[in-house]
Symmetry: C2
């Protein structure tokens, strides 16, 4: 990215799927037009925040009219790269991995699993959702013949770095990481982490927050 | 929380499980002492950021010595509320729900599933990990007899709000929400969301970001 180029902040990026979600729900409810005020009330954001967020990508609302829901949804679809489909491989066919494979919403949105890899001999050769589980050692050959956009990393933390290096060496550019460990990101790789244990711990912290703050204040 | 009380920012809270994770790894590697500089290099934060974060909760480091890993780990354990165990129920025993049930790491950290609820007649009465799947209509009776700290909500989006209301009406104070929909939070409820679809869309955005930014800059 050049220095004088526009930069989109992480918090705006993180809100984009949420806009997408709300707009899809509006479309499902046959609502074709919405003011930024109404949208803001539904989403718990300010109208000015919504305008600012969307203005990063273009001018979508009309003064006195609001947003055309269909148009805005389709624009956000484009921004999120959802106009094309994506080929995914799963590395680690354990519980979480299999749950992701069986999650119907992903395929509906154009995310398609094309390969499954594991190192467990009891799994290798079996089929999950009509896809054969391959030995992790076959990954390089597989990626030579097939395009892979995203590797879903669902392996124990102690295997995560090695598997990530494998995947990167095969030229895969995106990692969806469920392994509860941090992956160093080379420049041309993007990683999105789902830290389940961190999330559960955050919930526990919140459950105890009042007690903790009280303790600190009484110190 | 009183107005003059200390307030811990969301970004600090979100980093706490990450500190916990790194400190546990250090302990596993028999490293008992670490300087804030070394810890910062490993975690990709600045030393000053680490000091600031931890100072919110007390004074843990010693000038010229650094951090006692065991002590700091145990303090963060306390802050995260991990000294006690938590009783969880699962609402929705689909793919994701069952993956969470079978995730061994949670029980190791003191998170224990005590009940499973679903509305699918084919699941009700069966056992998963030795726990009988109950009808969702039995939730109120169950919570009258058993303490439940956290409800794990793993139901389709269109059922999420009703289920959340059910759970709240039963007095459960924490919801771990996997339903990819927002839940309005009453004052005495805490919610932690894992939006899988949002996360995957964020990854797709990142994969396409350069193209998108280029397009905006050429407008």
């Amino acid at each position: 990215m050049q220095e004088n180029q526009k930069y989109i902040s992480v918090s705006v990026i993180k809100r984009l799927p949420r806009y997408h979600r709300y707009l899809c729900e509006l479309l499902d409810a046959n609502i074709n037009r919405i003011s930024s005020k109404e949208l803001s009330e539904q989403m718990g954001l300010t109208a000015s925040q919504i305008r600012q967020d969307l203005n990063n990508f273009g001018c979508f609302g009309k003064q006195g009219y609001g947003y055309d829901v269909q148009l805005l949804c389709s624009e956000i679809n484009k921004i999120l790269g959802l106009e094309q489909s994506y080929d995914l491989i799963l590395i680690g066919a354990g519980n979480v991995g299999q749950a992701l494979l069986n999650h119907t919403n992903f395929s509906r949105r154009g995310y398609r699993f094309v390969g499954i890899f594991d190192c467990n001999p009891r799994l290798i050769g079996t089929k999950i959702k009509d896809i054969e589980v391959m030995n992790i050692s076959d990954l390089r050959d597989f990626t030579r013949c097939k395009n892979v956009d995203i590797a879903v990393l669902s392996v124990p933390s102690n295997a995560a770095l090695e598997m990530a290096e494998n995947v990167i060496a095969c030229g895969v550019k995106g990692i969806w990481n469920f392994s509860n460990t941090d992956i160093d990101t080379p420049k041309d790789l993007v990683v999105e982490n789902v830290y389940l244990m961190d999330s559960l711990m955050t919930l526990t912290y919140k459950l105890n927050e009042n007690k903790i703050i009280e303790k600190i204040n009484n110190k």
